[in-house]
Symmetry: C2
Subunit: 442 residues, 2 copies
């Protein structure tokens, strides 16, 4: 890949012509005219735009794809990558994760989110759905990193009315803060953590608030068998029915995990047009023992998309790897090698993910957001190239991504990301200090 002066290609408002790139249909040219959308795409359109383009990128030897969407993560948990693994879920949370998280600062969340954005840019993800704490710091990190995010504060009341009030105010404050940024790449959501950590009153408040504000809802749903059993014992109904009763199921909802959904719940989620985020690597690592009922959800009309979960339970943010693990887990668990074929996995990470997050169509068409990635074919994983979708899902990792463009701005070119070293160093420092604070007797 070449351009005249590659150092200058980074930054806003550059007009870029990508020539001869394979978009899955054959070689095309793509023109981005210094705005935030793809202005033209097609065969041999370079003739029309050569004069206008400040930069011409030779796309021969690359596949062009829409930028991928990670529909469930806790970005700043990148600082906890590798801190604790291979443990029983409750021990892992109570002995390792929560004690460390108790020492998190706004600065940690800023650098953790910068690190996460860096990893996503490097592996071709241009939008993500995040639930965590200190989300103003996360928004600052996303703003500076240049990708898109739907951000929510993790609302947890544990049935305590006073705590609920505080969570409502925190949610309102974050939404107001993000509206105030006036950054089209950063949206706010309501984030009721899960049916087992939020009271029905809290769930209802989140539902009403999201309708009122016309913002998405991001929630965990039926990750483990235990939470489903507890829900039935406490509320006499399964989690999806509880959420529906609380007004939380709509096309604005993104429900993560869904491992233990039964057929009736799949039908309900489909009927309500919910997006369900499949997180296969995390589910396997934490041993949920059941895989998302993918076929039932799709048949019911739900929008099934893909997420990595946080780096403490994955431990990376590479959606190429996640596409593969999703396709593999579905085949293995449901005992059918035809479930979740490669083109469907690609659709989950692109069109379905973009739809879930409300960031365009996740497609390479004129007028769509200029969120796109170039994946090299000059690598063993893409040789031979019998079938691009198969190679992208089953053979490539995110390391095959060479160039990442979001909202018309080049964030990585030819594997170079300006400022990468500083982010790596600062995030490593923040992680080390966090562990030291957690280990110092208070």
């Amino acid at each position: 890949m070449t351009t005249q002066e590659s150092a200058d290609i980074f930054g806003n408002n550059k007009s870029i012509l990508i020539t001869n790139v394979n978009d899955g249909t054959g070689p095309v040219d793509i023109f981005i005219d210094a705005e935030e959308t793809i202005s033209d795409i097609g065969c041999e359109i370079r003739k029309r735009h050569r004069g206008e383009a400040e930069f011409i990128v030779d796309g021969a030897g690359a596949l062009a794809l829409p930028g991928l969407s990670n529909t469930h993560t806790h970005a700043a948990m990148s600082l906890l990558r590798g801190y604790a693994d291979d443990m029983i879920l409750q021990d892992w949370l109570a002995q390792k994760i929560w004690p460390l998280e108790a020492h998190l600062t706004a600065d940690d969340v800023y650098w953790g989110t910068r690190l996460a954005c860096l990893e996503m840019i490097r592996t071709g993800t241009t939008a993500f759905n995040d639930m965590y704490f200190f989300m103003e710091s996360a928004a600052k990190a996303v703003d500076e990193a240049g990708i898109r995010a739907l951000l929510c504060y993790g609302f947890i009341d544990l049935g305590d009315a006073e705590k609920r009030e505080r969570e409502c105010r925190a949610t309102e404050a974050l939404v107001a803060h993000i509206r105030g940024l006036k950054n089209s790449r950063i949206h706010a959501a309501a984030g009721p953590h899960a049916p087992y950590t939020v009271s029905p009153e809290g769930l209802k408040w989140c539902g009403e608030f999201s309708r009122e504000q016309d913002i998405p809802v991001h929630i965990h749903l039926s990750e483990t068998e235990k939470e489903v059993n507890d829900c039935v014992a406490r509320h006499k109904k399964r989690p999806a029915a509880l959420l529906d009763e609380c007004g939380l199921l709509s096309p604005r909802t993104i429900a993560a995990h869904g491992c233990w959904l039964d057929d009736a719940e799949c039908a309900l989620l489909g009927k309500r047009g919910v997006s369900v985020s499949h997180n296969p690597a995390s589910n396997m690592k934490l041993a949920t023992h059941r895989a998302l009922p993918y076929r039932e959800l799709v048949a019911a009309g739900a929008n099934v998309c893909l997420g990595t979960d946080g780096c403490a339970s994955n431990n990376n943010l590479d959606l190429f790897e996640e596409m593969k693990i999703a396709a593999l887990l579905q085949k293995f668990f449901w005992n059918d090698p035809t479930v979740l074929a490669a083109p469907e996995a690609l659709g989950m990470a692109t069109a379905n993910g973009a739809k879930a997050l409300g960031f365009g169509d996740g497609a390479l068409v004129a007028g769509a957001p200029a969120d796109l990635i170039l994946v090299t074919t000059r690598t063993p994983a893409n040789t031979p190239l019998h079938n691009a979708a198969s190679n992208l899902v089953y053979a490539c990792s995110g390391s095959a991504v060479e160039t990442t463009i979001c909202n018309g701005r080049v964030l990585m070119f030819d594997r170079e990301i300006p400022g990468e070293e500083k982010v790596l160093a600062e995030a490593a420092g923040a992680a080390a200090r966090l562990v030291r604070r957690a280990q110092t007797p208070s």
Copy 2:
């Protein structure tokens, strides 16, 4: 990573000093004195060797690991990568894979194996265990690529005495051919394909031949439930018992898959000191529906190692990805997040794999074969570095490997592999011609 004249570092008989590299214990220096083994390793040993070293590689910012061992693959199937996926096993084989394989030539196997070796070098694998056809061509490819391989001809008699005779002669010829190469990196094995494709007479011949020649045995074992049920119906015993009766279970045996082994078979394989190659990605993609009984095999004393299977059912040869999928699948299927912790997964891909293939210890110690890789820590997947084993298994892909050394020879340095472009182009051409031949009516 830097060295004086990096272009010259490739090739045999270079003395190389790697300084300040993290081997998991802390920063060490490694000296390879133009021979095939690690001549010295330790803290600050650079003072002793600086004068002798032709090349000094700055290992700061890298982890040093033994080269990984892929204990089950069909390397030349790299040409079939992405040719057919997401199908029922029998349809996939009968409609897609076998018709294409019927048109394979020796030249295809040469370029397919070169492509596979290239991918393995790039992802840190320095030894592999291969079963396929035209294995003289595979040997030529391995010889030129510079890595290690244990090669066998896939012996299939389907109960036909005449075919059996031909398979015995082909096996003998390959072993003689490989002995004649006098290349310490290339060993021969007997390769009875599987209990369901080889008659008891054929299995017995392979067992006797391997004892007589003192060579390993490479076989498929209990990949699918159907083959186990068929074995019991035909032979009144399960596959491992059948192999034992035919004299095929010993510490020289590498049995691939093992998904459907029962407790008694695990005990038997452990007692005989067999190596069992876990191939989780292939098992998931082809929907075997049961995972290797890892804990039972380890408890019984079997040597459990790791394989990718061929690129038609994976679809890559990246053992970093395979370590992660192994650890994830074991946890998920056996419903216990503590099964197959990260250090064990690393051990499967290094020490256990090297032991299975008979290529040294898979450890970084003085006197061990100089098979080692340098993995960058200057990447999001290795930031922060709370725990190197965790990051290597759960966060990294093979793309984190920057330098690969096998038998004292540098095969990749700072991600550069001499001759890579030619191999990619020739392999792509061979794959395209293969498909055309298969599609031309004869």
